[in-house]
Amino acid sequence: MTGLEQDRQWALWMAAAQDGDNAAYARLLRNILPFLRVLARRRCRDPDRCEDIVQDVLLTLHRVRHTYEPARPFSPWLAAICDRRAIDSLRRHGRLRARETSDEHAYETFADPAANKDVQAQDAAQALAALVAALPQAQREALELVKVKEMSLLEASAVSGQSVGALKVSVHRAIKALRLKARAPE
C-alpha cells in the first residue's frame, strides 16, 4: 500500500470513527502506531519517553478528533499533533531536569529509620573495604584469614606461611590502624 492509499484508508477510518464506529477507530489507532513511533523517535532517543509521547498523542487525538476534516489528508493532521506533543514532552523533561537531581540512595530511603539499615550497612561495608585495601600486605592477609574467614591461628599460619606469633601481631596492628583511620576526619 502506497503512502497516499494508506492516508486515504486512515482518513476513511477516522471519518467512520467520528460517526461512532468503534471498530474502525480501534483499527485506525493500531495502524497509526508505527507511524507515530517513527515520528516520536525523531524527537527523542529514550524508548520509554517515546512510548509516553505516542500515548499522549493517542489521548490528544481522541480529545480533538472532531477537528479533523475528512476532505483533508489525515497524515499531516496526525503529524502536527505528534510534533506538538513531542515538543511539550521535551519542554517538560527539560524543566524537570533543571529542577531535580538524581540520588540513587534517595530511592532506597524510607520514612522509618529502621528500614534504611540495609543502605547504611552497605555504605559502612564499602568504607571498611577501602580501609582494609589500604593496609600493608601482611596485615591485610592476617586480618582476612583470622577475622573475615574466621580461621584458627594454626590454619591461617599454614595458609599464609607466617608464624602464629607474627599473625597475632599483624592482626593487632591491622585493627589498631583501622580504628585510627576510621576515627580520622575525612
Binding site: 467520528q18 468503534n22 505516542v54 500515548q55 493517542l58 490528544t60 481522541h62 480533538v64 476534516e69 475528512p70
Partner: protein, 213 residues
C-alpha cells in the same frame, strides 16, 4: 506513563462516541465576524454621528488608518481560527502583521501632522480616559466572545491562538472606536490607545491560555 499502549487503544476505542465535526476555520471565522459586524453595525447606526464620521473619513490618511485597522482585526480573527486546528501552519500567526504595521504607521503619521498644534497648546489629554474605557470594554466583550468560539477546537497551542486572537479583537475595538472619536488622535491619545490595546492583548492571552486548553 506506565500503561500498556494496547490497553489504552482498547479503552479509547470503547469510549469513542460520535462527535459533531468542527466546520472549516474560514467558515467559523466568517460566521463570527459576520455576527459581530451585524451587532456592531446596529449599535453604530443607533449611537454614533455618521455624518461627522464620513467627513473625517474623507481624509485619505484617516481612510488608510481605518482600512488597516479593520484589516488587522479581520486578519487576527481569521488567523486565530486557523491556528486553533492542528494541521494549519504556524505562519498564519503572521497574517495580521503587515496590516498592523500600516495601521500604526498611519496613526503615527496623524500624530506627527498635528505635533506643532499640540506642542503650541500644551499636551491635550482630551478624551483619552474615555477612549481607554471604551477600548477595554469593547475589547473585553469581543475577546470573551472570541475565546468562547475558539474553545470548541481545543487548540494545541492555546497561548499562540489567544495572543493572535487578542490582537485581532484589539484592532476591531480600535476600529469601532473611530465611529465615536470625532477628532484626530494626539500623541497622548495614541499612547492611551496603545496602552489599552496592550492591556487587552496581555489579559486575553493570559486568560485565554487556560480557557482554551
Amino acid at each position: 506513563m506506565s500503561r500498556n499502549t494496547e490497553d489504552l487503544i482498547a479503552d479509547l476505542a470503547a469510549a469513542a462516541e460520535p462527535v459533531r465535526r468542527l466546520a472549516p476555520p474560514m467558515t467559523r471565522a466568517l460566521l463570527w465576524l459576520g455576527t459581530v459586524a451585524l451587532i456592531c453595525a446596529a449599535l453604530i447606526l443607533k449611537l454614533s454621528n455618521l455624518s461627522l464620521f464620513a467627513e473625517r473619513a474623507s481624509d485619505p490618511r484617516l481612510a488608510v488608518e481605518l482600512v488597516s485597522t479593520l484589516a488587522t482585526g479581520v486578519a487576527g480573527v481569521v488567523a486565530a481560527f486557523h491556528l486553533s486546528v492542528p494541521d494549519r501552519p504556524r505562519a498564519w500567526a503572521l497574517l495580521p502583521a503587515p496590516f498592523a504595521a500600516l495601521w500604526l504607521s498611519a496613526s503615527g503619521l496623524g500624530c506627527w501632522k498635528y505635533w506643532t498644534e499640540q506642542t503650541a497648546h500644551g499636551w491635550r489629554l482630551g478624551a483619552s480616559s474615555h477612549c481607554m474605557v471604551f477600548l477595554l470594554g469593547v475589547g473585553a466583550v469581543l475577546g470573551g466572545a472570541l475565546l468562547f468560539s475558539l474553545r470548541r477546537a481545543r487548540p494545541l497551542q492555546p497561548r499562540l491562538v489567544a495572543a493572535v486572537g487578542a490582537t485581532g479583537v484589539a484592532a476591531l475595538a480600535a476600529f469601532i472606536l473611530q465611529f465615536f472619536h470625532p477628532f484626530d488622535v494626539t500623541l497622548i491619545d495614541l499612547g492611551a490607545h496603545l496602552a489599552a490595546l496592550s492591556i487587552l492583548i496581555v489579559v486575553i492571552s493570559v486568560v485565554g491560555r487556560p480557557g482554551l486548553a
